[in-house]
């Protein structure tokens, strides 16, 4: 047991003495949690419109002013030449062109008037489709008003909307737990992997190999510092999120700690496994980088898993962050309980066991 503590002490000393690591461990999480939520917004808010008004009537004026008044849209350019507007769109100055046909006002009441054209820059498909929806709704409303249909306004009273768990639709609150996940993946996955391979490259691992220390004990001594660092990061980031973004957990804090701990166990075991298969630090960084990209981009952090094709959704079942993200978000925002999440916990624990066993058996004491 004494050897174990000495090993552990050595690890902590190595981390502390490294000129770069301690700074990284402190500054990186704070920066990410404070700064990144400001950036993560997928709202389609500032959609720039150019109008090609061929009618120049009071009806078309009304439509344009309603478009401009909408909080998501801004009318920045009006012309009667479609080509001028198209040029603006190609330059990227505007996102959508709305063209109102000639005699629009005159033909408004007949059954099949000439259509209003909406031409969107669809390079970003999401933005184009949501933006078009906004425009259609705004114009449709104006149109009903113009035709004197009174029930237009009342029709919208048919439905009330209740946004549970996040009434202000604050996307930051959705992203903060996700950013924490990125932190744990980076800090607790990357760092232990690098630390083992660096011993390999320096040759100091041979010295450990010739000692009677068992490989489990050695692996553990590598892992434990990062478990502590991970939990420390959680302790730092949770109050920060509360203080700066008013995000407090709706559910049990113990559940957050439990899931984080299991996740850190798993991801650090994953890092060590990757390290055992690599000879150089660069190699291990590439391998870990590869999986981290998959974890971040396919784990449901930034895009909904439900929108992926079926085969891709099946792949995500093998990604531990998927379960952890779900737990963290559910507990944080919805106050979901352990009973409702037990299969996510079970999956997470399963991964932790598998990765750590892999980490212990793939570490060979031979050179």
């Amino acid at each position: 047991m004494r050897t174990f503590f000495v090993l552990l002490q050595k690890e902590f000393l190595q981390i502390r003495r490294n000129p770069f690591l301690p700074k990284l461990i402190i500054i990186f999480p704070i920066l990410i949690i404070l700064v990144m939520p400001l950036v993560t917004t997928m709202d389609v808010r500032n959609l720039n419109i150019a109008a090609v008004d061929l009618d120049r009537s009071s009806a078309s004026q009304r439509i344009l002013s309603h478009l401009d008044a909408s909080e998501y849209l801004s009318l920045i350019y009006t012309t009667s030449e479609y080509n001028l507007a198209l040029q603006k769109l190609e330059e990227g100055a505007i996102d959508v062109i709305v063209q109102i046909p000639k005699h629009f006002e005159r033909d408004m009441t007949i059954a099949a008037p000439e259509k209003i054209s909406i031409i969107a820059n669809a390079v970003n498909a999401t933005k184009a489709s949501i933006g078009t929806q906004y425009i259609v709704q705004t114009i449709a409303k104006t149109f009903m008003e113009l035709r004197g249909e009174k029930n237009a306004a009342q029709m919208s009273e048919l439905v009330t909307i209740q946004n549970r768990f996040n009434p202000t639709l604050n996307y930051k609150h959705f992203m903060i737990p996700a950013l924490m996940v990125i932190l744990f993946i980076l800090l607790c996955g990357f760092l232990p992997a690098l630390s083992i391979v660096s011993e390999k490259e320096c040759g100091t691992i041979e010295q450990i190999n010739v000692t009677p220390t068992s490989r489990t004990l050695f692996t553990l001594s590598k892992l434990i510092p990062y478990w502590i660092i991970g939990l420390l990061v959680l302790v730092i980031t949770m109050p920060l999120a509360h203080l700066f973004y008013g995000l407090a957990s709706a559910g049990s804090i113990w559940l957050i700690f439990l899931s984080t701990f299991i996740f850190i166990l798993g991801i650090s075991g994953f890092g060590i496994t990757a390290a055992n298969f690599s000879n150089t630090m660069q190699q291990v960084v590439f391998v870990v980088f590869f999986f981290i990209m998959i974890f971040i981009l396919m784990g449901g952090l930034l895009t909904p898993i439900d929108s992926m094709p079926d085969w891709a959704q099946k792949i995500t079942l093998f990604l531990p962050p998927r379960y952890y993200i779900n737990i963290l978000r559910s507990v944080y925002l919805k106050g979901t309980t352990f009973v409702e999440l037990w299969h996510d916990f079970a999956a997470l624990a399963g991964f932790a066991v598998v990765f750590n066993i892999l980490a212990a058996i793939t570490y060979k004491k031979q050179a």
Partner: protein, 364 residues
């Protein structure tokens, strides 16, 4: 002068080729990632799970529910009772619950007659994911209010991406992200490794000039990166069906500049780092987050707060992605991306300059 440059390139190439494992990993990673992400990731919300609470099953209600179930955006998860709403949402089984009033038929009749009355339908959304909630609201309202009939009034054209594929927006982003990170990780160890191994001293006393050392270190990696680029472009074109309207010449030209810049960035990191660990952590870990978040891969730049829009100007990936989107998808002529091209070239020169400068310092 050529005499000591060529052997040097040869030495660096040998270093690279001898490590077959790393070499294979380096080529394998970008290829797999681009294919995986190109097919799998969609930023659109195209599946909303919906449950329905209907105290009575009148014909009117059944019609609405059938309309919902038939809509491609929704997956109908069945009927639940009033008391199960909270639990169903909390456990994440559905994203939205549509609650019909027990007096639905009468209320609808009243509302369409213009008599003020309480709402007949309540939408309860899991707004934890604000994005999905907003999209779900828009889709549901369209179906429930039947404003769909007004759609006929409009003729909508989606320029450049008529099938509305997410991949069109995403492939350029992933391309920019992967190239810069893989290239920077490759070169980030090249100088600091020599420092750690002590072979740096040998280099410093040799008559080879620093500029040559730098270029010799970049050339083999540049060749590897070009191979990777070629494979990725072929896959994007023929497997992911990304159009590349304006021809492949401009895309390659700007990609080569971007690769050189990324390699130079790695060298810069390498000259400033004292240990390989620090260099690798910086290139492989610290850089991921700002590049992913601030270069418009996921989150459109124009949505960022002003301050971050300003910061994003110094991230090369932002300019590369903008240029590639224009060239690949909008099909503008190469002239239209001259600004991005100039900025990337300038950044590359600056990175090279600084790393040469700090390398020179070591000589003294």
């Amino acid at each position: 002068m050529k005499n000591n440059f060529i052997p040097f390139v040869k030495k660096e190439s040998l270093h690279l080729l001898r490590d077959t494992r790393t070499l294979l990993i380096v080529i394998f990673i970008p290829v797999v990632l681009i294919v995986l992400f190109g097919f799998a990731i969609s930023t659109e919300v195209n599946n909303v799970n919906v449950a329905v609470v209907a105290p009575k099953h009148t014909e009117e209600i059944n019609n609405v529910v059938n309309r919902l179930a038939a809509n491609e955006y929704f997956t109908f998860k069945g009927y639940i009772s009033q008391t199960e709403i909270d639990e169903t949402l909390r456990s994440g089984k559905v994203n939205a619950v549509v609650v019909f009033d027990s007096d639905f038929d009468r209320l609808v009749a009243q509302i369409s007659a213009g008599v003020p009355s309480p709402p007949a339908i309540q939408l309860i959304l899991d707004a934890a994911d604000a994005n999905t909630a907003m999209a779900a609201t828009a889709y549901l309202q369209g179906v429930l209010l039947g404003t769909a009939s007004l759609q006929e009034m409009f003729e909508t054209r989606m320029l450049f991406n008529a099938q509305m594929k997410s991949a069109y927006n995403f492939v350029p982003g992933i391309l920019g992200l992967i190239i810069i990170l893989v290239c920077a990780i490759m070169t980030s160890v090249s100088i600091v490794r020599e420092k750690e191994a002590g072979t740096m001293e040998v280099l410093l006393v040799s008559p080879v000039r620093p500029v040559k050392i730098m270029f010799a270190k970049m050339i083999p990696y540049f060749v590897i990166s070009c191979i990777i680029l070629g494979v990725i472009l072929v896959l994007s074109r023929y497997l992911l069906d990304v159009p590349m309207v304006s021809g492949v010449g401009g895309i390659i030209a700007i990609s080569l500049i971007y690769i050189a810049l990324s390699l130079a960035l790695g060298l810069l990191i390498s000259t400033f780092s004292k240990t390989q660990i620090a260099a690798l952590l910086f290139a492989g870990m610290v850089m991921i987050v700002p590049i992913l978040m601030l270069s418009g891969i996921m989150f459109p730049i124009e949505n960022l707060p002003k301050f971050f829009q300003w910061i994003s100007n110094v991230i090369p990936t932002r300019w590369y992605i903008e240029a590639i989107r224009k060239l690949m998808i909008q099909g503008v002529p190469f002239i239209a991306v001259w600004k991005e091209f100039a900025i990337l070239t300038g950044m590359g020169i600056v990175f090279m300059g600084i790393s040469l400068n700090s390398f020179n310092d070591k000589l003294e």
